[in-house]
Structures are given as structure tokens and as C-alpha cells.
Subunit: 240 residues, 2 copies
């Protein structure tokens, strides 16, 4: 039995931290939109010469005393002019050589928005919506980040009601189904899809019809976030 020696406590945490190596920290937003029945991601041309012509995520450094979430929101506001956007941290990427300018660690955020609602700042800049399928090489490790977030999204929309953020406030069941089919990359049975959402009882019939469609218009619905939050279920079941 060893007499455990009294540990020496550190009095000056600042001094301790000053011995740590430091890194530059950024956030990168994978901004998804849905247009022409395709999942799109908003990209900008890289402003680095080494990546000339390549596409890059929208990101920025994290400021000195800034929360990570706040930094991501700031990027979104700057680029889309939108303030109340669905936003969630997904993963931190820290490969030591992911940035040609030195050690830059980035926290990736996934954000979902309705492409109609931000037609603002997109004309200037070299900002463009890209369909996921057509993405080739990107600047930094951004292709990897996009892939990671896309997989995250595929999983996530099956279990959480985020997909609605990609649609207008009021949407038809067809639009909703198109969204799921596009993101998951599969076909869904129309009747079963509708039955499923009907049984969840989380869509509010707003008593309006689609406008300007070249065929019989469908009913429009809103998602009932309030009810969802009230009844959020916690247990699902073991299955893998």
C-alpha cells in the first residue's frame, strides 16, 4: 500500500494554458437548400490562389471571445442575410495538414434553409448553389466535410423534423415526399408516405391549395412544431 503523495495544485491556470500549443479555429457551414427537387449546397469560390477555381464552404474564423454557435450564425447572416436559420454543430475536423496556411481546426455546422427566403446577397460574390451529386474536388478538406454532413443529414431527417426547414412555410405532401426522396436517394410509396405522416398527426392542414401548378393542386400543410415538442418521444427501440 503506497502512501499517495499529496498532489500539487496549480494556482495559475493562465500560466498553464499558456504552455499549450495553439491553433487557429474556424467554423464552416454546410448550407443545404432544396430546389428543383434536388438537394443543393451553397458554396463560394475559394479566395486562395492554391485552390484557384475550386469551391469552398462558407466559413470564417472564430473571434476572440465568440461562441462557436455564434460564429456559425454570423457566417450565415453575412452570407444569406438570414437570422433564424436551422443550424447544428456536426463535427470537428482537425487534420494537421487540412489547411495550407498552417494548423487550422474547423468546426462544421449543418444548416438548412429555404432557398426562396434569401434571394438577397447571392447575385454578387461568387456564391452558388451546387447539386450534391455534381460536386467534384473542393478546397481544403471541404469535400470530406460535405460528405460527412450529408450522411449526418440523411440519418437525421429520418428521426427529427428538420426537413421542413428546406421547404416553404406551407408545403404539399408531394413536395415533402420529393424532399425525402431526393435526400435519401430512394423512392417512397406515395400512399404509405402520406399514411405515415397522417398517423404522426403533426401536420396542420392550413386550408389552402397549391397555386400555379400545372395539374390538380394539393392541399398545403404546416409542421406543428409545438405539438412535436410537447410529445417528443424518447424511446425508440434496439435495432441495428
Amino acid at each position: 500500500m503506497s502512501t499517495s503523495q499529496q498532489p500539487v495544485l496549480i494556482k495559475n491556470p493562465t500560466k498553464l494554458v499558456s504552455t499549450y500549443p495553439t491553433v487557429a479555429l474556424t467554423v464552416d457551414c454546410v448550407i443545404f437548400g432544396f430546389e428543383a427537387n434536388q438537394l443543393k449546397v451553397l458554396l463560394i469560390r475559394s479566395d486562395l490562389e492554391v485552390y484557384k477555381g475550386m469551391w469552398s464552404l462558407l466559413g470564417d474564423m472564430v473571434k476572440r471571445d465568440e461562441e462557436l454557435d455564434a460564429a456559425a450564425q454570423r457566417v450565415l447572416l453575412q452570407r444569406t442575410g438570414m437570422n433564424d436559420v436551422y443550424l447544428e454543430q456536426v463535427h470537428c475536423f482537425g487534420n494537421p495538414s487540412r489547411h495550407p496556411g498552417g494548423r487550422v481546426v474547423t468546426v462544421a455546422y449543418c444548416s438548412l434553409l429555404n432557398v426562396q427566403h434569401h434571394q438577397l446577397k447571392i447575385l454578387d460574390n461568387e456564391l452558388h448553389w451546387h447539386s450534391l451529386a455534381s460536386l467534384q474536388e473542393m478546397a481544403f478538406d471541404h469535400k470530406e466535410v460535405v460528405d460527412y454532413c450529408y450522411n449526418w443529414l440523411k440519418k437525421r431527417i429520418q428521426e427529427h423534423p428538420l426537413g421542413f426547414n428546406l421547404l416553404p412555410d406551407k408545403f404539399s405532401l408531394r413536395e415533402l415526399q420529393n424532399l425525402y426522396e431526393a435526400i435519401l436517394g430512394i423512392q417512397l410509396d406515395r400512399r404509405n408516405f402520406r399514411k405515415k405522416f397522417a398517423s404522426m398527426d403533426l401536420l396542420i392542414d392550413v386550408n389552402e391549395m397549391e397555386q400555379d401548378v400545372p395539374h390538380r393542386p394539393g392541399k398545403l400543410y404546416k409542421f406543428n412544431y409545438e405539438k412535436y415538442e410537447r410529445n417528443k418521444r424518447t424511446w425508440i427501440g434496439i435495432d441495428f
Copy 2:
């Protein structure tokens, strides 16, 4: 229609990055174990005087050219002597005031291990297993980190086969059920639980029985990781 001006490309990324604020970066491991039918987490006493007597996660700075995952693995090896431990990044915590020594951003990892397999370095140090329920205040924001990882784990074990990492190589169905009950905090029907795992057909009957139990011994099983990886299913279904 504006004549979009040619953007100026940055030739020297290093110079650019040098203008970014920097932060100290650490990893923190939430190391879960399972003992006496309880989920436990491995903690150490904080070595900071401001947190005197409080418990802290096992963490360390990320070294200059180190991968994040590698840093977390290094912490695990140092503290448990184990090399091949289940480890996964969970979330990045960056509250500007989370560390009294300045801006320190941490990447939280969740790790699962069998408490039998590492009886090594735990005697010295002020390292102890704590039952989750009994956790009070902790150093830094570590209570928040533990809570986040515990919720992550609850979700995760329902959909992925990680729970087995908390058990011995060979385990009985009773042990497995106890594990799920403890982590999820619910009671499960024994017959249905067994039927569920039987139908998955991912447990290998190793033709051995439990030893030294004060009652009829149960059969022992191994998890068939190979088969699981082969047949991994991707689509589950919309439900929230």
C-alpha cells in the same frame, strides 16, 4: 447587370492564417464503464486549485501536429494502458469562459471499455469510477460534457452495436440486458429482449456457460462484428 470584378486571390495562406485569433485546443474523454450493473464514468481529481476537490474528465492538450483522434487515443493509452478502445468524437465545446486559464476549446470523445481489462494504472493517481447518477458539480464545463455524451450514448446504443465494448468478450444475455436497462434507465421484457437479439442473428454462441454465478448459469455469446459489418443496413424509416 454589374460587371463582377475579378476577385483578388490570396497568394500566401500562411500570412492569412497568422491574422486569425488562436485558441488552445484540448480533447476530453468521457470514458464509460459498466460495473455492478451501473454505468460508470472514469474521472480524475482536478489539478487546478480553483477546482480543488472537484472531479474532471481525462483530457490533454492537442499537440502541435497531432490529429484530434490521435490525441484522444493518447489520453486513453496514458490513463488506462489500453490501446484498442472504442472511441468516437461527440461534440466540440467552445464557450469562451469554459476554462479559467483563457480560451480553451475542447473536443469531447466518448469511449467505452470493459472495466476488467484495465485494472492497471487505476490504483495510483486520483482516478475513480463514478456512477453517473451520483455526479455532482464538476470542474470546467465537464458536467455538461458528460451529460451530452450520456445522451449521445443512450441514442447510440439503440442503433449501433457499441454496448458490447462495455462487457467482457463473452457475455450472457442477462448481462447484455442489464447493460441496456442501466444505460437507458428502463425495464425490458426478458423474453422479448432475447427474441430481438435472436432475430438479429448477430450473437455467436460460444458453447460456454457462465462461471461462478450463484444460480443456474447462462450461455455465453460473442458479438459477430464481421457479420454486422457485412450486412449493415442503411435505411430505417421516417419516425419522429
